[in-house]
């Protein structure tokens, strides 16, 4: 995983609550067996009509937001299915920061495995950011979002911050505890399946 870099970008405002992972990446695209190339299917049913023409009223289709790396959305973002394809699609499309008033647990966890920073902020601040038209900067090291008018601080678990900043491979980290895992297995009373 690449280390997370500070992001300077305009904000894509997705003013909806309960955006579920079925909307982020519809099921017909879950049949692929690789991790790449999901960006073109992001929010597919909201982006395209039945003839696969772009719907002009959907925010991502507004050229004004081309190249935006920051998505701001309403409460309970990423609810529903555990599909990591949702994060792969957001990442592949170009988003590296998702800001919402709250995230569903599995989606939140999936973000950190893919170098995406999910930031939870108060609803009032989300409402302000949804209106923000200028370029803003997300500084993970200092845990600050800088807009032209203010600096907004955010909290993040220090362990998760380290994973993003250093682009750590989770599994390699875990293998450092190999002896502890073996020790646990020796005393475990749960029988094997087979």
């Amino acid at each position: 995983m690449e280390p997370f870099q500070n992001v300077k970008s305009i904000v894509t405002p997705l003013d909806k609550v309960n955006v579920d992972t079925d909307q982020i990446i519809p099921k017909q695209f879950l049949k692929l067996v690789q991790k790449s190339g999901f960006g073109k299917f992001l929010f597919f049913n909201w982006r395209y009509d039945e003839n696969e023409n772009m719907k002009s009223d959907f925010i991502l289709n507004d050229p004004k937001y081309d190249g935006s790396q920051i998505l701001v959305a309403g409460d309970n973002f990423g609810c529903g299915s555990s599909r990591e394809h949702a994060v792969w699609a957001l990442d592949d499309y170009g988003f590296s920061v998702i800001i919402s008033s709250s995230f569903a647990d599995i989606f939140f966890s999936n973000c950190f495995k893919n170098g995406i920073l999910p930031i939870s902020l108060e609803s009032e601040i989300i409402q302000k950011l949804l209106q923000e038209t200028n370029i803003i900067e997300v500084d993970l090291e200092n845990q600050i979002i800088k807009t032209p008018s203010e600096s907004i601080s955010f909290t993040i678990n220090s362990h998760k911050k380290k994973i993003l900043l250093e682009g750590l491979d989770d599994i390699a980290q875990t293998f450092q505890y190999e002896d502890k895992i073996s020790e646990f297995e020796e005393k475990s009373t749960v029988p094997s399946v087979l």
Binding site: D15, K16, V17, N18, D20, D22, Q23, P26, K27, Q28, L30, K31, L32, V33, Q34, K35, N45, E50, G74, D75, N76, C79, G80, S81, S82, R83, E84, H85, V87, S102, A104, D105, I106, S109, N110, K113, N114, S123, N157, S158, H159, D170, I171, T174, F175, Y177, K180, I181, F184, E185, S188, T189, V190, P191, S192, V193, L194
Partner: protein, 471 residues
Amino acid sequence: MGKTLFEKIWESHIVVEKQNEPALIYIDRHLVHEVTSPQAFDGLRMNNRQVRRPDLTIATMDHNVPTSDRSLPILDQTSAVQIKTLENNCKDFGIKLFDINSPNQGIVHVIGPQLGITLPGSTIVCGDSHTSTHGAFGALALGIGTSEVEHVLASQTLWLEKPKTFEVRVEGKRNNPHAVTAKDIILSIIKNIGTAGGTGTVIEYRGEGITDLSMDQRMTICNMSIEGGARAGLIAPDQKTFDYLRDREYTPKNYETLVDSWKENLKTDSDAIFDKQFILNINDIAPQVSWGTNPGMTCDVDEPIPSPDEFSNGDVNQKKGAEKALEYMDLKSGTMIEDITIDRVFIGSCTNARLEDLIESSKIVQGQKVASNVHAMVVPGSQMVKKQAEEMGLDKIFIDANFEWREAGCSMCLGMNPDILAPGERCASTSNRNFEGRQGNGGRTHLVSPVMAAAAAINGHFVDVRKLDLN
């Protein structure tokens, strides 16, 4: 201070613990399916890693398998590739696979318990959010993403932040337990706590309203914990749990010894304190029908659809959500639920496709015909459920009534296989999610219990099953 059941299971699975950091938790059972695993196996290959404990891992194919004639080739090439990929991965890494022709094939959350693979007090993960189902057996069962699938394959562990505890106490007794079901209890809970009400928590369902339920019904409750946003749902194991798991194909040999230790350990202490609590009294609850595009948008069958104002209680964003949902569902506030006509009926999914669901819904269907405006199907949760139902003659009851009787799989719960709604079609579904397009682009889903779905199939519109003679 005493401990909750969740805390006991958590503590007994800690491999590494550090202050203010996630704990490394050991995983006792890993269930794998075709959709969320290919990239995980690829990751192992790329890094030259093995599966640490193939003996704690099983796989099946459920999400995109056709539910029609299994002797025919799979026409959708991308589905066929994904299924073949799982076969190859299981072969390469030595994982037990219940393939498409296995008598044990089925929805992963239906076969785990049926085969005795799900055990009380264990930790279970699967790359699927409805893994919470297994919590009905007093297991800590978590849905995970593909990166975590890879992590568990490689290390048999997961880094997890300790969730908070949430007691959902279900009190009282239902007047008519054949008409008001476990599905109606869980939909009522979600309607009250909201779809994010359980975020960051593990719910323990407690009280007489829960202990009264059969294992099949308890699985329906725990299955939809994720729809309330919870990380997992739990029910303390009791005699029903122990009897259910005895003598299954993979029940451990030292089962009675395990039962003795479970009886002693797997309960919340009387002086334990939960972080959060919600109490539901079920004495008077009605069958539930969802009207919107998330499972919290649900009302009683004898109620009108609420207005966005009534639904949102002053929350502007929720109000906007409700307005959009009504527009998508092509419904108007004030319409009585029983006046909503339907096009399709789906009895299936890991929520409601176990044997008891089919028995209960068959009672409504027996001797009747599906309404002429309705296309109805039954998709048993596993091949074993299908076989048991056929031995009881349930298939004949459904087929005689013009239901389609299918092979096992996830089917129209998420429409990854050919079983999907056409745009604009309205479906009474026993599944778990009514998200936009979930059952097919433009499709409109109403979540209901199996008996409510069966009654809607016969009548062509929703009916209050409390009015029917179900005994």
